[in-house]
Amino acid sequence: MNAHPSLVIGEPVEIRDASSQPDAMVRFETVSKTYPTYRGKPGVLALQGIDFAIARGSITGVIGRSGAGKSSLVRLINGLEKPSTGRVVVDARDISALTGRDLRLAQRSIGMIFQHFNLLSSRTAADNIALPLEIAGWSKADIKARVSELLALVGIADKHDRYPSELSGGQKQRIGIARALATRPDVLLSDEATSALDPQTTRAILDLLANINRELGVTIVLITHEMSVVRQLAKEVVVLDAGRVVESGHVADIFTHPRHPITQSFLAEVTGDRLPVSLASRIVQEPGSHAVIRVQVRGAGASDTLIARLARELGLDVSLLSARIDEIGGQHVGSLVLGIPGGEGAATRTLAFLSQHQVWAERLGYVA
């Protein structure tokens, strides 16, 4: 990565475990965050036992319900908040130990985009992008050149002189992204950046972020409550619940083998609404002629043999009710909905067989 002047300012930082994770861009080391008591209200434990690393150049999704601690987590990375215990190391520097001018210099190598864009209404698109550069003390000529470059990068070169009130949500977020990238940061933090956008615009913004990651090598940390965002963009995912990391790993692994109930409920949101309406409306919970089982299999071809093996080894006339293949975290993941004849016993045997072969499956119910 490029060497920022900020990296040589402040005291050299001793790095624990440097050998085990030489390529970590961001590392949480046994971090907890407690908000103090305020006006008689008890203190809030927002984060607890946070211990994970984010690889340089990766795109990592941090997913959780509201109140799970996502916002606190992301604000620890750019020093807007300090951990109560532990430390947060960004690019080999303990950002939680920095204050004042040292912190402000370090923050220039960490960009951030926001759900509500947070653009200055009094500044044009170009001047909004120029703001972090003005703050960093760039010359007028350098700012002008850099802003043009950034406007082109995010695809809104024609909106140079427009005010935010004249732009759409997607255009505003593009300005937000250009502004966050202005000082050539190593890390880009996205705090629910697409939550206020429609699905089509969300897709375009996520594509833009993927391009930026690929072309500039910027490490991206995505905070979101939407699994669809993680699925489309992230390679790694960290699932937060009640201030703790309950699951983390490759997106494709987590999507095919979700262990924690919270993860499963997030997955249900992206996969659960995919049943054909005609089928979904017929599913009941009382045992019927066919059990309906949803299966997720990973890797191209895996789904082809699965049904044949089920039929052969369990002697069941398995019917395929619905199927689709998605690309998740760079891997093909097949979602199949199977109809298993023979009532509850057959369904239970099928689930046992699938679990034995490490295939994620769940019983949705029965059809008559």
Partner: protein, 221 residues
């Protein structure tokens, strides 16, 4: 109306504009930073100093709740210290400034508090210092509100300036009282009121126009 009387009105208008103009400038010079500080110094804010904030708040409230005519008389020794005299338009600038500073400070505080807190966090996230946040974010974003606040302050000062006649401050209010009321010249009273109405209209329209021009929040095409 005789030319002498018209001359008196022109002279009084000049005195009023002089007093109000200087007091508005000085009131802004003191009131703007005070207002910005009041808006940013509570617990957890940019220049957090809750005790100072509370103390300044009390001083501001005390000054604002003192009737202006009492303030004028009460601070005569201070006025003499600053202006060298306690009589005349120049001396009147002292109480006018002291009255308008807390007034402007409270209006500035309200305008600054209107700025979305997310913008402060945003600027902090890319390493802006507290002073950069004030000058690059808070003041520019609050500018429409600040201009309306100043307009309101100038209009109020026009009203206050009528009272400084009590200490020989001169100006339109003084002229209206001495000629219109004490010498029973209703046409003089009417002329003074008409000039004051025209001034207030002018100031308000100019303020509204400027505030609209700098407001980019609701511009549609």
């Amino acid at each position: 109306m005789s030319p002498e009387l018209i001359n008196l009105i022109i002279q009084a208008t000049g005195e009023t504009l002089f007093m109000v103009g200087i007091a508005a400038v000085l009131g802004t010079v003191f009131g703007l930073p005070l207002g910005v500080f009041l808006a940013t110094s509570r617990k957890g804010e940019l220049f957090a100093a809750p005790a100072v904030n509370a103390a300044l708040g009390m001083v501001v409230n005390a000054t604002r709740s003192t009737p202006f005519i009492i303030l004028v008389v009460a601070i005569i020794p201070f006025t003499r210290l600053i202006a060298g005299t306690s009589i005349g338009s120049t001396a009147a600038i002292v109480p006018l400034t002291i009255a308008s500073t807390p007034f402007i400070a409270r209006l500035v505080e309200a305008a600054i508090r209107e700025v979305d807190g997310g913008l402060i966090e945003t600027a902090s996230s890319f390493g802006a210092s507290p002073f950069q946040i004030v000058f690059k974010v808070l003041i520019p974003e609050a500018l429409p509100g600040l201009l309306l606040a100043l307009t309101l302050a100038v209009v109020s000062l026009l009203g206050y300036s009528a009272m400084v006649g009590a200490v020989g401050g001169g100006g339109l209010g003084d002229l209206g009282i001495r000629y219109g009321y004490q010498r029973f010249m209703p046409e003089m009273m009417l002329a003074v009121v008409v000039v004051l109405i025209a001034l207030v209209q002018l100031v308000q329209s100019a303020g509204d126009y400027l505030a609209r021009r700098v407001n980019r929040r609701l511009r549609h095409h």
